[in-house]
């Protein structure tokens, strides 16, 4: 187990390093000069050189990469080209908003999705099961940004029930109100996804011998389903959530833009708009790390649950 853990962690670090290196190589191989994009066409060579120095673009490529990781390892991710603030402070200032949004979304999606999937499996092939099935596929298929804009249109603009933009004035209740619509848009696809996974694994578990055993003892059906079947059937969901981090992050980007919420997504979109390379690189590093950490965690949970996986790597 310890060997597996070490291997998996090393692989995770290698992937993050490779991914960011790839990005550096791409930046370098593109003909355009980031400095002229920032400064506009009338920039003097001196101004360009200054910006180059600030962005670290005056070093040779391998040096740039080494410097970036050296700095990142010490918790330094460069400074914002425009405001001169450290990128680390900016990124970690925005991170909590995104984490809160993602956690809220996934929580409500699980609370709705698990019972739906469970009910579907128990009432297999019934009319309600089929309706839930079609709804689940639809919820997965509809893009989250369309969902976000429609939610904004219906609940904020037309009905005026909830605030449209921002993250609130700092008060708890106000924050919750501002969180409802974005969390709805991010989570709705996951309701469908979770309900499908739970349904499939419930069907598998319900056919197993310990459930038949419980039945033959005459235990009440509700207790069999919740205590003996669902407890096992939920496990695959946990591992899928890790891999699903990428989808959650993508959905969060759109939700933050549509609802003008602060967060990593809004930050990176704005940084891309203004060609603020250090901020883009910092955000990419943190999101990629976040993603790799969550997939690695999911793999580890999987390995703990299933000994066969450990042997595989």
């Amino acid at each position: 187990m310890l060997l597996y853990l070490t291997k998996r962690l090393l692989l995770a670090v290698a992937i993050v390093v490779l991914a960011v290196t790839l990005l550096f190589v791409m930046i370098h191989s593109v003909p355009g000069d980031p400095a002229s994009v920032v400064l506009g066409p009338r920039a003097t060579p001196e101004q360009k050189a200054l910006i180059h120095e600030k962005m670290g673009l005056d070093e040779p490529l391998p040096m740039q990469i080494a410097l970036f990781f050296g700095d990142a390892a010490q918790g330094n991710m460069g400074t914002d080209v425009f405001t001169q603030r450290p990128v680390r402070d900016i990124v970690f200032g925005e991170l909590p908003y995104t984490i809160v949004l993602i956690l809220t979304s996934i929580t409500w999606a699980s609370l709705v999705g698990i019972p739906l999937g469970c009910y579907s499996a128990v009432r297999r092939n019934s009319f309600v099961d089929k309706i839930i099935g079609v709804l689940s596929v639809s919820m997965i298929a509809i893009p989250s940004f369309v969902m976000a804009v429609y939610a904004l249109l219906i609940f904020a603009v037309l009905l005026g029930w909830l605030p449209a933009i921002g993250s609130g004035n700092g008060g708890f209740w106000d924050g919750v109100q501002h969180l409802i619509l974005p969390a709805f848009a991010v989570g709705v696809g996951w309701v469908g996804y979770i309900s499908r996974i739970v349904r499939a694994s419930m069907l598998e578990v319900l056919g197993e011998s310990h459930v038949r055993m419980a039945r033959s003892f005459g235990l009440p059906e509700r207790r069999i389903i919740v205590r003996y079947a669902l407890r096992l059937a939920i496990l695959p969901t946990v591992t899928v959530l890790g891999v699903g981090m990428a989808h959650l992050l993508s959905a969060a980007v759109f939700a933050e833009v549509v609802f003008a919420r602060p967060g990593l997504g809004a930050l990176i979109v704005h940084a891309v708009d203004t060609r603020n390379y250090p901020v883009v690189m910092g955000t990419v590093l943190v999101t990629t790390a976040l993603f790799v950490i969550s997939t690695t965690l999911a793999d580890l949970v999987n390995a703990v649950l299933d000994p066969r996986v450990r042997e595989g790597l």
Binding site: L11, A14, I15, V16, L18, A19, L22, L23, M26, I27, V30, G32, V134, V137, S138, I140, A141, I142, P143, F145, V146, V149, Y150, L152, L153, V157, L158, Y193, V240, V243, G244, M245, A246, H247, L249, S250, V253, F254, V257, V258, I268, V269, A271, V272, D273, R275, Y277, V280, T283, V284, T287, T288, F291, V292
Partner: protein, 295 residues
């Protein structure tokens, strides 16, 4: 005369495997609905030049942000352009992006997967690490990073989709190739002196391409979503070229003034992704029930 068994009948009517599949699809109501939506979307994209009532980029003197009317069934946008015409042309853009990028990803993924699956161990390991590091980016984050570098354009979207899909396809091809290459008929072929090219081209490729095509077809809605999403952020298709994403974004900017552009921009995205998803799921169940991939 002896009775003809079902399998003989199948031999006589050569195409009945397809007839059987069609029969299965016909029984799947959701799949049929998906097929209908896909046909509507594809044919309107193909015939776009002939059926648009107005030039989608023509700025007109009529009402701005007008509600639906007989002249403009989906209303007009903030510049007075006819939204229906823009929606039809936007479908064409979405389809072009989906087809070109998926074709590129398919061919490159196929080659890389075959190489990884059939080549030496070190090459396999190296390729896997490279593929996994590309996959380490959440797609939208990768897309945004690429846009910073290449600037927003149709080609950038195609590039992003191709690069992010290649690892998925290559992995599927690799796994299939590896399971096939130790089969006895491959060994026999090799014993008879067949080269790597013949083994890959004649024996492995036909076995790999089927499942891969189903995967690719199920990715069409994802690509359409990504194109619309990037265009929505103003980082995909450039104006004045219409895209469903830009229509939605234009509508979003004026959401306080009129709900119609937002409604008109979102519904084609929803219908198309639903259509391709329903059809893809039905096709997968028909052709290969085992091929169930996580989202």
């Amino acid at each position: 005369m002896t009775a003809i068994s079902a399998s003989d009948a199948r031999l006589i009517r050569g195409n009945s495997a397809w007839a059987e599949h069609w029969g299965q699809l016909r029984k799947n109501r959701l799949g049929l609905f998906g097929l209908f939506l896909v046909i509507v979307m594809v044919s309107s994209a193909l015939l776009a030049n002939f059926i648009v009532p107005f030039d989608p980029t023509q700025i007109m003197v009529g009402p701005r942000l007008g509600p639906p009317s007989w002249a403009h069934p989906l209303g007009t946008d903030q510049l007075g352009r006819d939204i229906l015409s823009r929606v039809i042309m936007g479908g064409r853009v979405a389809l072009i992006v989906a087809l070109t990028s998926l074709a590129a990803a398919l061919s490159l993924g196929l080659v890389l997967g075959l190489v990884a699956g059939f080549g030496p161990r070190w090459l396999d390991n190296g390729l896997l690490l490279a593929l996994d590091s590309v996959r380490a980016f959440p797609v939208i984050i990768f897309a945004l990073a690429v846009v910073t570098l290449l600037g927003p354009s149709l080609l950038t979207v195609v590039f992003v989709v191709a690069v992010t899909s290649i690892p998925v396809y290559a992995r599927v091809v690799r796994t299939q190739t590896q399971s096939l290459r130790d089969h006895e008929y491959i060994l026999a072929e090799r014993a008879m002196g067949a080269g790597t090219g013949r083994i890959l081209g004649v024996h492995i490729l036909p076995n790999v391409i089927g499942p891969l095509l189903i995967l690719v077809s199920m990715d069409v809605p994802l690509v359409i979503t990504l194109e619309a999403g990037l265009s929505f952020l103003g980082m995909g298709v450039r104006p004045p070229t219409p895209s469903w994403g830009t229509i939605l974004n234009d509508g979003y900017s004026y959401i306080q003034n009129s709900p119609w552009p937002v409604i008109a921009g979102g519904i084609p995205i929803i219908l198309t992704t639903l259509g391709f998803t329903f059809l893809g799921e039905a096709l997968r169940d028909i052709f290969d029930p085992k091929l169930r991939r996580d989202v």
